[in-house]
Amino acid sequence: MLTVNHLRKEFDGIVAVNDLSFTVDRGAIFGLLGPNGAGKTTTIRTILHIIKPDSGEILFNGLPFLEERWNTIGYLPEERGLYRKSRVLDTILYFASLKGFSGVQARHAALKWLERFGLKQDAHRKVEELSKGNQQKVQLIIALIHRPQLLVLDEPFSGLDPINQQTLKEIILELSHQNTAIIFSTHQMEQVERLCDSILLMNKGKEILQGSLMDVKQRYGSNSIHIEFEGDVSFLQTLPFVKRADVYQRYAEIELEDMSKSNELLTLLSQRITLRKFELVEPSLHSIFLQVVGEENEPREVKSL
């Protein structure tokens, strides 16, 4: 559905996106990940034809950009906002008609979506009278009301309560079953892990990691151990066979140099702390993220010292 080839974009001499290539298939959920300032938003904007790339091509179903394309894409930007003084239903219908979706059908669809998000009674209120979370739902409706072929969601879950997160997740999966290609940009790795088929991790405008979620996890092995505990585990970092330890209050993710040492670790731990759980797992996307991006950033930090 969407093919991006060797995309490059510079701003005032700073390279925001450098030689980025990827494809998103129909019905696929694609995670675009990366730290702040990695060039995610720029990538999204070029895909949506808001800005033009310096070089590289963006193809939809093998074709370059055409006017009709506007109507086949939907976008939820990261920063939220709407016309504050306008009425909810009017706003939705306006954006829908910009996408070539208007008339009774649009009205019907808008009301249906509002109902699904529990906003039906707010249809004729002004946007500014709605809570932030509800405004965000209105924006979501705007992004998907015209049944786009490609839906780009920038941090769609932030600011939503668990119930609405659940609703959103259902909707995303539903759209994906209806063959909508979805691009997800987020920092929330759990969401990506639960929803995405494939991911692209970028940093400083460049691709660092790409592939299906399974591939990525396999590539980063399963030399990871999750523990739940009570006590002080700060000594973990000092153990020679521990490659990396990501320690929380009562939870830690440990990566070993050599998986054969896992028994040794278990013995050590049970001597020093109360273990509640000891689990050999594939690494979470979160720790892959930390690891890969961390490595990327290290040389620069050395230099700046």
């Binding site: 904007r45 949506l48 034809h49 808001i50 800005i51 506007w70 894409i73 939907g74 976008y75 930007p77 990261e78 920063e79 939220r80 906002g81 709407l82 016309y83 504050r84 003084k85 306008s86 009017d90 306006y94 954006f95 008609s97 910009l98 996408k99 924006q139 705007i142 992004a143 780009v152």
Partner: protein, 411 residues
Amino acid sequence: MTVAKWEFFEKVRSKAFLISLVLMPVIIFGIAFLPTLFAMKEDEEPVAIGVIDKTGKFLQSLQEHLNQTYKLENGEPNYVLRNLDDSAPLEILKEKANDLVIDGAIEGYFYFPPDAFENGNIEYRAKNVANIKIQERFSRTIEKILLEDRLKEVGIDTSTFRRLQANISLRSMKVSEEGEESESGFEDTFIMAYIGILMIVFMVVTSGQLLVRSLLEEKSNRVIEVLLSSCSSQDLMVGKIIGLSGLGLLQMFVYGGFGIALSIKFSTASFELGYLFLIFLYAILGYLFYAAILVAAGSPVTTEQEAQQINSYIGILLVVPLGFLLLVMQNPNSLIVKALSYIPFFTSPIMVMRMAVQMPSVLEIILTNLLLVVSTIVMMWIAGRVFRMAILSYGKRPSLKEFMNWLKEPE
């Protein structure tokens, strides 16, 4: 087109627009008519004026003349003179008189020195010396008395003089192209031109405010990104301008109707349809020209303060021609006025003024309109380029260099 419709209806419904719609005629009416109304307001009660007459000849005849000429509505004399003269020395007299003025017992007082008849030096003292009406009326009357007296001295009888001094009143007629004569006084012309220009100014300022505001809002809430993922920046800009022009037109029709109704009622000016059409044409073109400028200037804006600034700059640019109003009225065909007509920023207002004073030649009208059309197209082109680049820039004001780069940026 969808954008245009949205911009139009959302803004029409906004409170700011409704307020400006109502406020504008009130302000114009205020500026144009109230001062004259106030100035022409007649006194309702007799006004007491003190007189210290050291010549002994003025008091009597002054009162007679005043009674004859200036009467209140109920027929009583408008001015009542009070003789403040007695044998006391001048200093004390003046002190007393000053006290009376301060107490408000008299509006002011005239002092005629003993030699007033010879050299005509007269003093007027009052709390409010800016009251031109009293001074004008009194000095006219005093002049008359002096004149009559001096005429008598050289042996000319007052009645003979009256006969000789036939009443002269000047009626000015405006001769238009078709050779028709239409009566038109200085004030009519002035007010017409004034209203015409004010209309353009207010149109640009109010809808300019709305335009920059809406750009600012879309930028700060990032709606602009959703919009630009739905249509091209060109479409968006054109849509906005059309939508806001619709607003401007609506305003124009309302005010135009209001103005025509008003002038028919008071029959202050004669209207010709062709003239109205031309004013309309200049207003529309001038408006589009300024709308393009507003888009170019408004799209890089990121804060409310900047928006205010830009609006006031453009407001100033628009008001500048008002400064030339007198120049145009005195000499509509001078080189400088003609030159000004060809500066696109001033074309509309200056031409509206010139048409009110003296219809410029057909050639000039065609030329200036062409100029406006061309410069509007150029401005739109520039605005489109700036808009495309600036609309996504946040936070910093663009430098001139960036501005130029935006213009060069390929499509």
